[in-house]
Amino acid sequence: MGDSTDDGPRPLVTDPFDAVPALAPLRDAAWDGDWEAVRAFFEGIAADEATGVEKISLAAALLAGVDRTEWFLEKAVKDRPAGPLPRTLLAERYVQLGWRARGRGPAESLSWDAARQCHDWLCKAELLLIEVCAEEPAYVPAWTTRLSTARGLGLGQSEARRRYDRLAEHHPHHVRAQSELLRQLSPEWGGSWEAAHGFAEECASAAPDGSHAGVLIAEAHLEHWAALEGAEAEEYLRSTTVRDELLRAARVSVLHPDHRRDWRWTDSHSAFALALSLGGHAGDAAPHFAALGDTVSESIWRNVPDWRTRFIEYRTAAAQATP
C-alpha cells in the first residue's frame, strides 16, 4: 500500500486523469483537440444513472483544466449550436480561465485587472449556460457550472440557492453541485458557518448510504479550519466534536460497505485524510490513506504548506498508528 519502502517514497499521483484510468481517453481526446472523441466519451457515460451525472460533471471539470481546450470547444459550439454538451463544456472551460485569471489569493489582494478578466470570462460562461438551462432545464451539468458562475459573479446567496434548487429538482444528491454551493455558503462568499455546516449535514444525511455526500462534512470543516488562524485553527480540527462528525460522515460514505469506488474517490479520501491528520487523529486517517496509496487530490491538499512532504509524513503516521 502507501507505506514508504526501502527505496524511499514513490512519486505521488496527483493528476486525476492518472488516478482514474477510465478517464485516460478523455485526456487523449483533449490533448488531440478531438471533439468527436470528447463527445463520444461523454455520450458513453450513462447519464440516466445517478452516478452518470456525477461522472459527467466530474469529467467536465477535469476537461476544463486542460490547457487550450477552448480552441476546439469553441469550434464545436459553432458546429453544434443546439446541443447542450458543447456549450456546457466550453462554459466550464471559461469558468476555469476566469478563476485562473483571478488567482487564488483573497479578494482584497485582487487587482482591478484580474477581477475584470475573471468577470468577463465568467460572463461569457454564464451567457452560454443561461441558454442551455432555458432550453434543457433538466440538464444538471449546466446548472452545476452555473453555481460556480453565480459565486464568481457575486450574484448572491439567494440566487445560488435558486440555481441549486432548480438542479436538485432533477438530481437531489449531486455532490459536485453540493460542494459548489457549500463554498458559496461559507462566510468568505457571503454566507455563514452555521449555513455551511448545516447544508453539509443536510446533504450527508439525505444521501443514500455509501454515497460521497459525507465528504461535504469534511470539506466544510476544512474550509472552516482554513479561515481560522494559529492556535485556533489547530484546536478546531482537534476537537472531539469535529472528529466525531468526520468519523460518522466517513462511515456512512466512503467507508460504508455499500460504497463503490468511482471517479471521485481520490477527492473524498483526500479530504477525510487531510482533515483527520490535521486534527491529530492519525489512526482515524489510516483507512483513507490506505485507500489512497500514492494517489492524492492536489486541489484538496494544496492549502497546506509543503503539502507533498506533509502528505507523506501524515501517511506514515497513520500507518504506524494502525493497530
Binding site: I130, C133, A134, T149, G156, S158, E159, R166
Partner: protein
Amino acid sequence: MTAQEHPPAPTANGLAAPDGLDALDGLVRHTTVHGIPTLFAPSADRQITAGLAFRVGHADETLPTAGITHLVEHLALHHLGLSDLHFNGATASTYTLFHVTGDEDEAVTYLNGVCAALRDLPMSRMETEKEILRTEAGSRGKGPLSRMPLWRYGAQGYGLGSQDELGTWSLTADQVRDWAGTRFTRDNAVLFLTTDRVPDGLDLTLPAGRRFPTPPATSTLPATPAWLHGEDGHVVFTSVVRRSTAATVFAEVLGRALFQDLRQKGGYSYSAEADYSSRDADFATVTAYADALSQKQDAAVGGFVDAFARLRAGRIEQSELDSARGKLLKRYDVPDLGAALLPSYALSLLTGHRILAPEQYREELRAVTVEDLREVAREAWDAGLLQVPGAGADWAGLTQAPHFSPSGVSGTLHPSLEDEDVTLIIGAAGVTLSTPAGLVTVRYDGCAAMTTRPDGARCLIGLDGFQVIVEPTLFGEVTEERIAVLDKAVPPAVIVPLPARPAAEIPQPREGAAPRPPAGPRKKAGAVRGESLMTRLLRAGRRK
C-alpha cells in the same frame, strides 16, 4: 359661452367610413357630430357612458411645458367641479379623455360643457389650477416603474410621463390658449357613446384644426438590452415591440411564467406580472414587474432572467399558449361587445392604428403559434430595459444604461465645498459636474429645461435626462457673472423660473459630514399617469 355659428346638426353616416370602420359593421356605428368622428354602440345598461378623446398627451409636450395638457383638462372640467355626476378627465401619454357615465341628459350636459369650456377656457382660474396640479403631483406616489420612461426616452416625448410638470410654474395664458386651440380641435378628436343613436341636444362645436400624429420616439439607450440600478425589492422590465396580436398573447404568457417561477415555485416574489399597452399606432410597451423580499431579491432577478430566457428559447408549452389565448378570448365574450370596445376603437381611430373587428381578432388569436411567441420574446428582450436591485445585470448579457455623460465641457472650475473630488465646470457650451465616478454634462443646445431661483440656483436638465444642479452656495466662486453666462446661453424658451425658496431650503455645505449621495445624475422620478385608463374603461364596460 361664446355666441357663434354652429355647424349643421349631426348627420348619420354621412361620410365614407374612415380608417377601416367598415370592419365594424353591425357592431359599432359611426357618424360625425359637429365635425367630430363619432362611434356609438348600444349597451343594455340603463346609464350611458360617453367619452371625448383628443390626440394629445404628455408625449406631445416639452419639459418646460410639461403639464400643459393636464392643465387644459383641468380648466375644461373646472365648471363641473361640484357636480355629483360620475365623470372625469384623464391625461395619458398620447391622448386626453373626458368621460362621463349617467343618463342621456347628464351626458349631453357634460360633453357640451367640456366643449364650451375648451372653446373659451376660464383663464381666470389658471393660477389656481396650476397650484392644484402642483399639489396633486406632490401627493402622487412614485412607483417602482416611474423611472423607466426617462431612462429610455430622455426628458422629452414619451419620457415626459415620469417628469415633474414643470409647466405648472411657468405656463402663460397665451401658451395654454394656443395649446387648447390647436390640440383640442374637432379634427384632433373622437367621440364615443354607448347608445343606439346620437343623443339630441349635443353642441360639441370646436375649432377646426388638424389631426396630430403621435410624436416620434426618442432614445437615450445606445445599446439594448440595457439595465439600470433600482431600489431594493423591485425588478422592473420594459420593452417596446411592434403591436400585434401575438405580442398581446406574449405579455400574458410572460406574466404567467413569472408568476409561476418567482412566486409559486420559488417564493421569491409576491407580485409577478406583465402587461401590454399600446404606445402609438405601431408600437406597444411590454412591462413586466416582480417584487422581491430583500433576502430573496437576487433570486428574483435570476429567476426573471431565466424565465425570459426560456420564452426566448421557445420552450413554451402549448398549454401556456392556450390558456393565455383563452383569457384574451374571454375578454370578447361579453354582452354589448360593441359598447365595451368603444374606448379601444376610439383610441385606434385617434392614433391611426388599424381597426380590428372582433372576429378578425379572434382569428388572429387562434392563429398565434409558439413560434410567434418566441419571436416576440426575442424582440422584447432585445429592446428591453431592466431595472434591478443589487449587483447589476451585465452577467445576463445586458449593457448598463448610460449613467454618466460621454464627455465634459471646458470652462471655469468651481470646486465643491463639500467634496474635494467633485468640481463643477461652467463653460461656453454647457455645464459639467465632474465626479470621481464620471462626468455629468448638460449642453446648452441639448438642454430640455433650466429652472431658475432668485437666489441664483440653476438646475439644467438635458434632453437625455441628465441633470446638473448649480447651487452657488455649494461650489466655489459661482458668482453672479457665472450665473449670467447660463442665463444667456440657455435658450429662453426652456427657462422655467421658480419662486424664491425660504432661506432654510437653500443648501449649505456640510462640513465634515458624509458627502451627499453621489450623483443621482438623472432627473428625479415622477409618476405614471392614466396610461391604462382605456383598459379600465374596457373592464368597466364588461361588468355591466
